[in-house]
Symmetry: D2
């Protein structure tokens, strides 16, 4: 972790009060940590637009009784194995599975994999979450 730099900022009194209310609700213990989070969220959004290597997760919900869906999903994942780090499988109930695939690669490659999985017949829901490798957020 890099060294800390301290600097001053100025905020309107009423804006600061509203911000203090917000961060207290969310469980922050100091303003610096809350501001760091706001800044890092902006930087992560930017990483995804810039085409840099990013990390993320793809969350799928599907009915594992759908004929040949398991084989199809495994097949798609193997074709894109270079962007997949790991997969976790949860049994939500008798029918429904939730699968989380942790990915790392360019936004384009990740989005391509995400589209292919979403398009598979029997996948009820698919969501791509943008995260970060953390390399630029030291």
């Amino acid at each position: 972790m890099s060294s800390l730099i301290r600097f001053g900022i100025s905020l309107e009194k009423t804006l600061l009060e509203a911000f203090d209310g917000l961060i207290s609700d969310r469980g922050y213990t100091n303003r610096s940590e809350a501001l760091r989070d706001l800044i890092r969220d902006e930087l992560v959004r930017r990483e995804w637009l810039s085409g840099e290597v990013v990390a993320g997760t793809i969350t799928l919900v599907y009915d594992h009784h759908t004929r040949e869906l398991n084989a199809r999903l495994t097949d798609i994942q193997h074709k894109h194995h270079d962007v997949i780090i790991a997969t976790q499988h949860i049994h939500l109930d008798h029918h429904n599975c939730l699968e989380v695939i942790v990915v790392q690669g360019t936004p384009q490659d990740i989005e391509k994999l995400s589209s292919r999985l979403k398009a598979a017949r029997g996948v009820k829901h698919s969501a791509l979450t943008m995260a970060t490798t953390g390399k630029n957020l030291r």
Copy 2:
């Protein structure tokens, strides 16, 4: 506008450098103003979740040749006149109109109006933008 309060925050050196790059790209002249914007964006998102009176805009794109669409849109707007402040109409080309409706009210009432307009046959696109009355952001 309320009085300014100055306080110190600390950021990791590499995070601060990334932030300085971001705000320079966006045309900010100082860090305080950029941080204020990040804070206010969070507060506005929260206003919309809390059910307070908010302001916003509804943007519609439609083909004014669609039979009776103008009458239908006017009719819907009149039924919800209590949340509508003003409407501006732009002629994009021979067929397409863009209409911006400035609204103020509870998120529920605004979303109801927005749904009704979007559902009208011939409306090609409709987007609801969350803004603020500014009252809590002095």
Copy 3:
């Protein structure tokens, strides 16, 4: 408007019931119109990613008492006049103004203008809304 094409789709019974509930709540009178809206929303998201000419709105909320803010906002708008179609100004209360700027151009040019306006000191909130010229959604 182009000619209508009719085709069949198949949906699981429970999914169709949930969809019918959703569209009835939103005021749609038939399924085709609701499905058209879902499709057009996807196409508009894609236009903004593809770099085509799009339309949109920028919504600003600001305190017009902020010294020289009006002049600054006008100045920025004139520098980007080629993407601005029209501006509407609403007086929310004694302090707060809401301004809607209707824009048309490439996503890059529009986002640049949006960043510049947001960065101006005294602007409390700024939101960019993605809409469409409607040209590809006939």
Copy 4:
């Protein structure tokens, strides 16, 4: 899985062509499956607004060298164990970990846990992904 119901919809020719281009790019093999996905996405968004029990994932990126962060994150997760199904931990590099927490509960409870984790000092990025238990999407 419930029985399939077939019905007809009508779309403007140019809109249908644009939609066919979109679904072919995304790897769909037929229109019904693409429309089902658009519908289910809307229904999932609605589940999260309605306060029903939903499923989701929380993705964290953090530097595991941060003093006591591991203990802090474990502590928070145990306090909210009733909404947590499972956690998966990935070593991105020497410093950075990515952790995916699969959750099930009301949106309010899930968002509370998500806020607490995000606020922990040393967490670089946190994202909450809305998914579904699949129960209403048969």
